[in-house]
Symmetry: C2
Subunit: 254 residues, 2 copies
């Protein structure tokens, strides 16, 4: 049995609390947080406290808090014997500094408030400053996911950057499409099945193999027509940059 404490009351903290409260071999000891109202949400899973001096002993303390708060909170709990881990993609493990046993437990997924996720297929990137701690994190991770991987900080940061390319940026392109639909009295949800199938293709084709469209086939006529239809300068700029980049890949392997 691995006992854990979750520090933080945000979106990820809630998803982890929910998943760990159902996981076999895990005891969720406590959730700690400053936001009283959010903290109450967690009372259905375990005991809650907003007092760092009231911390119960656990094997692992999981910091699911903002990047900028990690170092400060880690200092506050530096007296603990348990393993202290953060859940951030872009932060070094060493930011947990003063603690003896430190590590990272980074689930590579986007979490939505109130939307249950299946952790089974979510890659969890782990790292620790000792073999023993790494073993413990591996055990913890496999209670949720079949895709636990040891990934050092440098590589995790690169993964985090790629996550921006496959999550933040595509989502922003969806936002542009919605804006264009709204401006033209078209229902954005007409695009839902295309969005879904585009994402689905990575499961059986490389993105380079899956690439289609006017830029890929060098169809200048259609690209010019699209540019004529785009009213916003910002949309045109993005259309041109990405189309030119796609055109440049024609024939060459990515």
């Amino acid at each position: 049995m691995i006992s854990i404490t979750i520090i933080g009351t945000g979106n990820l903290a809630e998803h982890l609390a929910f998943a760990f409260s159902k996981a076999k071999g895990i005891r969720l000891n406590q959730v700690i947080g400053r936001n009283r109202k959010r903290l109450d949400v967690f009372s259905k899973f375990t005991s809650i406290s907003s007092d760092y001096d009231a911390l119960l002993d656990s094997d692992i303390y999981i910091l699911a808090i903002k990047d900028g708060a990690i170092h400060e909170v880690a200092k506050k709990i530096s007296y603990l014997n348990g393993l202290v881990v953060h859940t951030a993609g872009a932060m070094n493990m060493e930011v947990l500094g003063p603690n003896k046993n430190i590590g990272v437990f980074y689930p590579l997924q986007t979490f939505t408030n109130g939307q249950e996720v299946d952790f089974t297929t979510i890659p969890i990137c782990i790292e620790a400053n000792s073999e023993e701690s790494l073993g413990l994190l591996l055990k913890l991770g496999t209670t949720l996911s079949t895709k636990v991987q040891v990934i050092p900080s440098k590589k995790r940061k690169i993964l985090h950057a790629t996550a921006v390319f496959v999550n933040n940026f595509p989502n922003y392109l969806y936002a542009i499409a919605k804006e264009i639909c709204d401006d033209n009295q078209l229902e954005f949800n007409l695009l839902n099945s295309l969005i879904s199938e585009t994402a689905n293709k990575v499961n059986f084709l490389t993105p380079n193999e899956a690439q289609t469209g006017p830029a890929r086939r060098g169809d200048q006529k259609t690209m010019h027509e699209h540019l004529n239809l785009l009213k916003e300068e910002k949309h045109r700029e993005i259309y041109i940059l990405l189309s030119n980049a796609i055109k440049a890949t024609n024939g060459e392997k990515l």
Copy 2:
């Protein structure tokens, strides 16, 4: 019973032939095409011919061919009484010119060779030059999909442009992520569940509500770190343009 002929032997032609051969109330009369080898694929569904003079009578002739070939083929079959439709997102209905009964039957989806698709949820945009033909296309569309919509050429072209934003461009961003993963000995498929969930979010959040990441929260430190990790000038350029565009949307509603 609606009888149809498919002209063309590409990816879309094959998906349509497969779907219509199973659809209730549809008789797939014939498939016409010049590519003999490809044409053979269709012999399992119906009779095939590469001779435009051997066309059988059908209620509807569906041109599933390259944009640039539509006008020429339409002229070749202008003597037909049946309804002639094309399946292109970016072409006017009028390109079918000389034919008396013309229309458009545009399934808004990306089709992959050999990968079966479920037409039920695919929007099919229809248009015709008479009420009677429109009714016939509506009947045809609903044998495959629950989302048949009458969309005039102008709006269909706008939809086609938005499809570039939600399909071609996100797929290219996946390609960049794969390139970065490959360069750093990281498995690209670590990103699969993130890609899938990002697309899934459009079903319950607007893209603006779903937007997260360093650009959205104005996290300059992480953005600078990402830029330092990106080796290719092209990747940096795209990162900067899209991040700045996302930053500009902070606080304002898209």
